[in-house]
Symmetry: C2
Subunit: 447 residues, 2 copies
């Protein structure tokens, strides 16, 4: 059966069609699509949720944002909450509990099965943005001495645990990970093949404390679908799956883009005015400080500007173009650092390249602006002063665009967050200083 309704028709169907029809129909519908409908209208959401089976509700809540999970779950009776939570996956339950206060969390823990509560308590003890914080504990373990047919029969008997399984994990008697058997190899091997023959033993496993962003880059690099998470002695703790990783990478990318644009963490397009002001005003205030610093430099030279007022006209070009060039370099650097592309062996080469870029673009822009300055003021020295200031500032721009992110990374400050403030401070302050300083030096030729 293929979904042939638009969103509105589907909403009406969910609300009014006979429940048996709904049950049959949604079997083939992705929970995310229902989630979309639930998000649109609070009242309808409650009615629709009331008509869905518990295990399907669990799937929807698994897919929901962490803040939504609690909201949805609370719409049900205690008993129904129990059943829904039992069908939810352990990592999502952990995310949910992670944002509740102790009181709320304890109430929910009391409603879980003993096994689930133990799992979730364990998961809550890990740092949320590490491998262990994002792993699920649903996975299937088999033994080396089994053969393919025995394995298949074992899986057939343990169907309900197959939730996210793309791989089977082979562990030894001490729970240590020995290797992996992919379903692909399992289904394409003769029934009598021993697991020993199709096991992959050199399995890249993730230490439980690895940062989630680093985990994401491993998935990107190797194209894995799942990776096992192990503790310090190699015992299998859980698995991380690629779909969770994609969400993480998307959020990390959004965060990096926002930070580069001077927007605080967690601002959402559809968030509230208060949230936005809170995420943006602090950065504007930091920028205000650097703007005041740059203006103070201009203030030092008011005497010079008074004599040659055209300096005020060209001032913003020198500082602004430096800012643009600096932003270019820091953008390439910050992204390269985030993707782990900066090879410290070649760091000198990149540095010299950036100085080269600053010099070449500086001379290009500097020549244009020197001619323009000469034409405006009718004074060749005026043109030279602005041209030389431009070249100098462009070199400062690429140099600081290169250096600032590396230094910030070394002192463990996120380069995406703070680089642009520092770089524009450098280019503004030094841009004004070079230009107005040179003008003061050559003031006799300018008036």
């Amino acid at each position: 059966m293929k979904l042939n309704m638009n969103k509105e028709e589907f909403r009406k169907f969910l609300l009014h069609a006979p429940q048996s029809k709904v049950m049959q129909y949604i079997e083939d519908v992705h929970p995310v699509d229902i989630l979309d409908i639930l998000r649109d209208d609070e009242e309808d959401a409650q009615d629709i949720l009331g008509r869905l089976p518990e295990n399907y509700i669990a799937q929807i809540i698994d897919e929901a944002e962490t803040e939504e999970k609690y909201h949805f779950l609370m719409q049900f009776s205690e008993n129904k909450q129990k059943n829904i939570m039992e069908a939810m996956s352990s990592d999502e339950l952990t995310d949910l509990l992670g944002i509740l206060d102790e009181d709320q969390a304890n109430k929910l823990l009391a409603r879980m099965t003993e096994e689930d509560a133990r799992k979730v308590r364990q998961l809550l003890s890990y740092e949320p943005d590490t491998a262990a914080g994002i792993m699920a504990t649903e996975f299937i373990c088999i033994k080396e001495y089994m053969n393919v047919e025995e394995t298949l029969r074992y899986l057939q008997a343990n169907q309900e645990e197959m939730d996210n399984a793309y791989n089977l994990y082979v562990i030894d008697s001490l729970d240590r990970l020995k290797g992996v058997v992919s379903l692909k190899d399992l289904v394409s091997s003769a029934f009598t093949t021993s697991i020993r023959e199709i096991i992959q033993t050199n399995v890249e496993s993730i230490p439980y404390h690895m940062d989630q962003e680093e985990v994401g880059h491993l998935f990107e690099k190797y194209g894995y679908l799942t990776m096992p998470v192990v503790d310090h002695i190699g015992r299998l703790l859980g698995i991380v799956t690629v779909d969770d990783v994609m969400q993480i990478l998307r959020d990390e990318n959004t965060e990096d883009i926002h930070k580069l644009g001077g927007v605080g963490e967690g601002e959402k397009l559809n968030g509230t005015l208060k949230e936005s002001v809170r995420s943006r005003l602090p950065w504007l205030l930091v920028n205000l400080l650097t703007a005041i610093l740059a203006s103070a430099i201009v203030g030092l030279f008011e005497g010079t500007i008074e004599k040659v007022v055209s300096l005020a006209t060209f001032m913003p070009i020198v500082a602004g173009m430096g800012g643009n060039a600096g932003t270019q370099t820091l953008t390439v650097m910050v992204r390269g650092l985030a993707l782990g592309e900066l090879d410290y062996k070649h760091i000198k080469k990149v540095l010299f390249k950036e100085i080269g870029i600053g010099t070449i673009t500086g001379i290009s822009i500097g020549c244009i602006i020197a001619v323009l300055g000469y034409m405006w003021e009718g004074n060749i020295i005026f043109g030279l002063v602005i041209g030389i200031a431009m070249v100098l500032n462009m070199i400062v721009a690429t140099l600081s665009g290169f250096t600032v992110p590396i230094v910030l990374k070394k002192i463990k400050v996120d380069p995406a967050l703070a680089s642009s403030v520092f770089v524009t401070t450098f280019t503004d302050v030094l841009g004004f200083f070079f230009f107005l300083g040179l003008a003061t030096l050559f003031i006799h030729y300018l008036v």
Copy 2:
């Protein structure tokens, strides 16, 4: 066997260990790890490749960047090229041929099996950045009337085609996609279960012409591992896998980040000086134009600045802070548009929110700077002029940060690419205009 060597030891092992040992060892090594070593040293690369089996070389070339593929392949004799290409996957072969000139491409096509050449020719006919352009044609089809045991025996007999299979595709007699059977369901169902019982029929398939970025967002949203690509009458053409999609999303994110930072397409941290200058200079020149435009506004008011030279000192603050606020808004907008988060139903709400942000942050920053201006110049009107100009410019900033990306998207220009030029032009030009214009209006109170 677990990899217990560092990169240098591993390189030496690959170069000097007996070939039989190398063969055995690399069975468990991810081709990407060998690729890392090959990239380091041209000469060693040739020696190492010479010692690896053809099907493993094919895997390495599959993982390599498109430009590297040809380079690696060309190191082998014609005959070896043939065997390597036969083991490569069709989408990677297509990528490779896509960057060659006709002559080179024809030579390689002549060395492929007839079947491969036909597949690749077909794949080359699709737009490279659509679903069909990134799909692979290796997939496994089964029939509805089979049961689980028959399917398993079929897979066992067609082992070599299981390359990237996580799902089996059920097609009808006209090759139209009827549904999907996941390996997970296959291995956990009793041998006598009919495929009909475990088929999922409501399969989200991708039309072959869908843009690859859109494909990426479908994978992100639903957490799929593979999606089938169909033609206009629903025939199965190929499959897209999540690992390819992750690369695409990563590259699109890099591109967006670079564009927002004013860096042209395809610049790489480890690229050449020439490439970098070529990607950055054009944007600097565009920015120069807008800087000149802004300066021209200042030039209009030289008479006013001559009378009150402190205007030159505060000028950069008004324009710069507007630029910062505009960048914040456009960053949130551009990222929201890229992720498809902007719901046109709520567009008015977002607009009013942005005006609100501009007003609130404008008044906050405006008050601070008004006091500062008053203190610097000892003139309350001077303070008021700069404060009011600041509020006005902050509102312009958030308004243009909101409007520009939407308009660009509507006229099908990439918002990430051009938004920031337009927004900073607005904030610079209008910032100077408000500030110096107001100063001119109230000049009698300022001197």
